[in-house]
Amino acid sequence: MNLRSSVDIITEWDIVAARQLGRNEAKEVGFGTVDQARITTAISELARNIYLYAGKGKIEIRQITDGNLRGLLVIASDKGPGIVDVRKVMEDGYTTSGGLGAGLPGVRRLMDDFKIETVLGEGTTISASKLLR
């Protein structure tokens, strides 16, 4: 069983590929339809952020276990410009691209755990996970 899989985000089509991979993995772990939609949506937001702000990067999806619980960990990484003001990007409605500004704060609400590591000029890694309850 492949417990780790990833999609390189280079074009818009890779956003579709990443969320399809995410949905399949979520199904395989046994998530219900609502959690599948949450995970798929979160991956779509993270992949689009890479495409819009960093140009290219990677979405990695890992099946994880925490005690008796199974789950999924999504890692979105890029070597883009980094995020200048992390607090600002976590505010609802903040956008620099004309979008809805729902992306990152939305992902945090959709998933159980959410972490951003960002270094200006070096890139950003966002990890978000969800456990099957």
Partner: protein, 120 residues
């Protein structure tokens, strides 16, 4: 590789059923196609059925919200139908409120609602 979404005309309404996952380009070309079709047919209303759609992210939500406002500018009313429970839950958790959007449970209710709105 853009797939075009079929737009059907029934009396003075347009009916659109989105049958598969929307990618960005398909969503954007649908936006243009729908407005063009409104223009050429002089339809006064649109029912947009999303029954098979199992997730909507913020980009697709923005495109849908925009096309509803654009149709409004052209004098047409849009009713969205068939939003699945999982889609409703994730949209709200994502923080997206499609305000002032008329919705109905299914296509049949949507058409009835649209016909009533158009009578007013």
């Amino acid at each position: 590789m853009i797939t075009r979404i079929p737009i059907l005309k029934l009396r003075d309404c347009l009916i659109v059923s989105i049958q598969w996952e929307l990618d960005d380009q398909t969503a954007l070309s649908f936006q243009e196609d729908l407005l063009e079709k409104l223009h050429t047919t002089s339809a006064r209303g649109v029912v947009l059925d999303l029954t098979p759609i199992d997730f909507i992210d913020s980009f697709i939500a923005k495109v849908l919200g925009d096309v509803i406002n654009m149709s409004g500018l052209m004098g047409a009313k849009v009713v969205i139908t068939g939003i699945q429970p999982a889609v409703a839950i994730t949209l709200i958790e994502l923080g997206i409120r499609l305000e002032n959007v008329v919705t109905a449970l299914d296509l049949e209710n949507g058409l009835e609602k649209l016909e009533r709105e158009l009578e007013d």
